[in-house]
């Protein structure tokens, strides 16, 4: 670690807003979330002037609170010569890089209120990001998570408590207390999970995650036998572990119609990497889950809201058919008004080289990530920080109103193609290494 001169700046001398101010904001946010959730229509973004004005007002109000209460944000603004009253538009709110969460406590929570911390996953030896939470901020996290998860994943199933079986390929929060993903899955299972829902991941001694494939297949078989649809939740590498193991044992499973899968995140060297369309195809052939019922999630420990690239249709026509739809077939199963149709098999490819280069329109049927209405993504040019045009590649910046006690504007290191108000992921900037004969660059921070 670097030695630092700790200097008392203006920040320490300011009056920080108290918890009460944040609680008032949280109340407004909850009302905004409630009003934004048109259940059953897939939560298409409402770009009405009214919605925009409300987002604007909340974002600016939250920024002003955070500016006074979150040291790293205050100092960043001070360095840039920005006063909160200078900012009149949410897009102009200074975004704090995710890497700042490694060096500094990006939080307005007092030490004793920080009851939970989420770490970014990463390779051994790298310092993780730390996103602090209190009971209150976790409640906001859950208030953001559940309605949008329900809209995107829970179409066509009973949404009462205990009505649906979930299989999470991650460890449970007791075993992985610093994983925001484990917390997310636990929250979902707590809300709707039947008693036979299970976490089948375990933490290895090197910190990596392993999937108990025997327990997974046992649960999947039971569900298949009983005709109970199941929702499999996991990281991409968790799915690959499971599917590889099933493939090795020549196992296939035709899960009951209505079964679905949510996959998220990269591989981080923990299993062989598989391109997303291939992974979705594998999930289809091995578990019998229809492509319409496989959703990708984008989230990170530094955020409190999630983006999804599809919406499981509620219509009974799309009942988890195992056979892929013919190329060019219309997505007959999708409910009217759903913005993201099913991908055509084999045509979805998120690599930059695969035709998603700057300026190109999204291929027909391509899936696009969207955040809920209370979080917005902007793809900015890495050259100048200005939002790119539709179809162009840049860095993803997220404005998440549910990040109440940290900072709402987050600058990620993820490269994305702008697709209207959504985005398409193409990779992570720090992985991008310039060609040349120099030694491979290592990560900045140690």
């Amino acid at each position: 670690m670097i030695k630092r001169n700790i200097q008392l700046s203006d920040f320490e001398q300011r009056a920080s807003p108290g918890d009460a101010a944040f609680e008032v904001f949280e109340g407004e946010l909850r009302r905004f979330i409630q009003d934004s959730v048109p259940f059953g229509t897939g939560l298409e973004r409402d770009d009405s002037d009214e919605q925009e004005a409300r987002f604007q007002r909340l974002a600016l109000a939250l920024f002003r609170l955070q500016h006074r209460a979150v040291g790293p944000l205050f100092r960043l603004c001070q360095r840039r010569g920005i006063a909160p009253e200078d900012i009149g538009d949410w897009r102009a709110i200074p975004a704090l890089t995710t890497t700042a969460f490694k060096d500094y406590a990006v939080t307005s929570l007092h030490l004793e209120a920080r009851t939970r911390v989420f770490h970014s996953s990463g390779t051994t030896g790298h310092r993780p990001s730390r996103h602090f939470h209190s009971a209150g901020s976790l409640a906001v996290y859950e208030a953001s998570l559940l309605p949008f998860f329900r809209a995107r994943l829970m179409g066509g199933v009973g949404q009462g408590k205990g009505e649906f079986t979930f299989l999470a390929l991650t460890p449970d929060p007791a075993e992985a207390p610093h994983s925001s993903l484990a917390h997310m899955f636990a929250t979902v299972i707590e809300a709707w999970g039947a008693d036979d829902s299970a976490f089948v991941g375990a933490v290895e001694c090197d910190g990596g995650w392993r999937v108990d494939t025997a327990a997974s297949t046992a649960l999947l078989r039971r569900c298949a036998r009983n005709g109970r649809p199941v929702c499999v939740l996991g990281t991409a590498f968790g799915f690959v572990h499971l599917l590889d193991a099933m493939h090795q044992d020549c196992l296939q499973c035709a899960l009951p119609p209505g079964s679905r899968a949510l996959e998220t995140g990269g591989y981080k060297g923990l299993s062989r990497s598989v391109l997303k369309p291939d992974l979705h195809r594998l999930i289809g052939t091995t578990l019998g889950i229809a492509p319409t019922h496989i959703v990708s999630e984008y989230g990170m420990s530094e955020l409190s809201s999630q983006a999804y690239d599809a919406c499981v249709p509620a219509s009974p026509l799309a009942r988890g058919a195992v056979d892929p739809p013919a190329r060019g077939a219309t997505n007959s199963g999708a409910a009217p008004g759903i913005e993201t149709g099913a991908p055509q098999w084999g045509e979805e490819d998120r690599r930059l080289s695969a035709g998603h280069s700057a300026g190109e329109p999204a291929p027909a049927g391509a899936r696009v990530f969207h955040f809920p209405p209370w979080a917005r993504s902007v793809v900015v040019s890495p050259e100048n920080g200005i939002e790119v045009r539709d179809g162009e590649t840049g860095l993803l910046r997220v404005f998440d109103l549910a990040n109440v006690r940290s900072v709402l504007a987050i600058q990620t290191e993820d490269l994305a193609v702008r697709r209207g108000t959504g985005f398409d992921l193409v990779g992570r900037a720090q992985m991008a290494e310039p060609r040349g004969c120099s030694l491979r660059a290592v990560a900045v921070a140690t």
């Binding site: 670097i2 030695k3 630092r4 001169n5 700790i6 200097q7 790293p72 100092r75 960043l76 001070q78 360095r79 704090l96 890089t97 890497t99 700042a100 060096d103 500094y104 930059l352 700057a358 040019s381 890495p382 050259e383 100048n384 920080g385 590649t393 840049g394 860095l395 600058q411 290191e413 490269l415 990779g427 900037a429 720090q430 991008a432 290494e433 310039p434 060609r435 040349g436 004969c437 120099s438 030694l439 491979r440 660059a441 290592v442 900045v444 921070a445 140690t446």
Partner: protein, 457 residues
């Protein structure tokens, strides 16, 4: 300018390149070598190369104009950066320098022609003859055009038939150079081949490895290992792995008047080939205690880069490379907002150039494209401790010092394992006779015949 389809890399359809086509090309190269190259004299070949280099310095040369017009799209470098790089390279390619190189590495100007005794070698009871490989294959690794061009020149001197295998999309400048040689000496051009394919295409590479008697390769260590493992026994392998470079500025060099000049020279080193080469600096270590502080030097370096941007712009970057710079800047900007032990200077509204001042002396890899670190140190020991992780992997140190200290610092760096020390401003301009990664480039290509004379002589 319409280049004829003379080399394999000229053929637009990559599927046209089959193992059979490549085998025929290798056999033709060897045959042409026997007919047109094997019996040329060194003086004659040096003359050809020197004329060629002179042509390339001429701004009206159509090959040079082609390089500057279409090079930016093909290589990603701005025309000014290409021009500066070509000038630095071709300036060094003089008859005098080529003769020096032969003398330095082989001990006698005629060593490649006949058995001779080196005039300055001990004992004259033994004569030596140096013979180049029959087919010399170069596997070019990076985006910089100079290394394959140097390789081609060395191979000409050793009278070798040569094939340069470029990575996909990187054959533009080697091709132009080969065409320019073909234009002035078609028979020599007939002994060269330029081909391009994706590394690891084993059907094609097996042909090369079977046909070549010497392979020289540049690239990452893993790539070199993979190549080495596939070579037949007896095929000579010269591997040039990944290297990094840094600068060192001693306190006595940091006078009020000298420092701006040094900073401008350092900026030249950073801007050359957009920092993409092994000889480009990632970090400048700057001693505390001079009239100009390391922070001030960093600021001057930033001014130097800003000034250079005006006449030698970096040029646009693909999104991932720009994103790497932007993400690192964001990281250091937050640190700089918290403590003056980190400071950041950067171009406004673009990623054109970035200087990070960081008090932590640990060596830091740059994300390149004109992104450089300045780190203050008490002395050379602190710098070398900071650079311990890259010990044995350092090519060049650009050194600014004076008097007896300069000698002491150079000696210290040499003993630590640095293979080249040069003044600031010349890091990306190695002389023709430099020992690449510490090895004699020409000397390593040849095989000797020693003739021990009978006593009656």
């Amino acid at each position: 300018m319409q280049l004829p389809d003379y080399f394999l890399a000229d053929i637009p359809d990559p599927t046209a390149l089959s193992p059979a086509v490549l085998t025929d090309a290798c056999l033709a190269l060897k045959s042409n070598r026997r007919r047109f190259l094997a019996n040329r004299t060194t003086a004659d070949l040096i003359d050809v190369v020197a004329r060629l280099a002179e042509d390339w310095m001429d701004s009206d040369n159509p090959f040079r104009r082609e390089a500057l017009e279409f090079g930016p799209a093909a290589t990603g470098f701005s025309p000014e950066t290409i021009a500066a790089g070509l000038d630095a390279f071709f300036e060094s390619l003089t008859g005098e320098n080529l003769r020096q190189l032969v003398l330095q590495d082989l001990g006698h100007p005629h060593r490649l022609e006949r058995l001779t005794a080196g005039e300055n070698e001990p004992g004259r009871e033994r004569l030596g003859f140096a013979r180049g490989p029959e087919l010399l294959v170069h596997i070019a690794g990076g985006v910089l055009p100079n290394p394959p061009l140097v390789s081609l020149v060395l191979g000409l001197l050793t009278r070798s038939a040569q094939l340069v295998k470029c990575a996909s999309g990187t054959s533009f400048l080697p091709r132009l150079f080969a065409h320019s040689l073909y234009e002035i000496e078609p028979k020599l051009g007939a002994c060269l081949e330029i081909a391009e394919w994706k590394g690891g295409t084993s059907a094609l590479e097996s042909v090369l490895f079977a046909q070549a008697d010497c392979i020289s390769a540049m690239g990452e260590d893993a790539t070199l290992t993979a190549i080495r493992e596939r070579l037949p026994p007896g095929t000579r392998f010269l591997g040039y792995g990944s290297r990094v470079s840094f600068g060192y500025v001693a306190q006595e060099a940091l006078s009020k008047y000298a420092a701006p000049r040094l900073a401008a020279a350092a900026a030249e080193d950073v801007a050359a080939w957009n920092q993409m080469g092994c000889l480009s600096p990632h970090v400048f270590y700057v001693e505390n205690g001079g009239t100009v502080t390391p922070e001030r030097f960093a600021e001057m370096l930033a001014s130097g880069l800003a000034a250079r941007e005006q006449f030698q712009p970096r040029g646009p970057l693909p999104a991932p490379a720009a994103a790497a710079i932007s993400s690192r800047r964001a990281f250091y900007e937050v640190r700089a907002a918290h403590s003056n032990e980190t400071q950041l200077w950067s171009s406004f509204g673009s990623t054109d150039w970035t200087v990070v001042f960081e008090s932590d002396p640990r060596f830091q890899f740059s994300c390149l494209n004109r992104f450089v670190y300045v780190k203050p140190v008490a002395n050379i020991n602190e710098a070398l401790q900071g650079a311990d992780a890259i010990r044995g992997k350092v090519s060049t140190v650009g050194l600014a010092a004076s008097g007896t200290n300069e000698q002491a610092l150079a000696q210290c760096l040499a003993q630590w394992g640095v293979t080249r020390i040069c003044p600031l401003g010349r890091m990306q301009r190695p002389p023709l006779a430099w020992r690449h990664d510490g090895r004699p480039s020409l000397g390593d290509l040849v095989t000797w015949t020693d003739w021990e004379l009978p006593s009656r002589w």
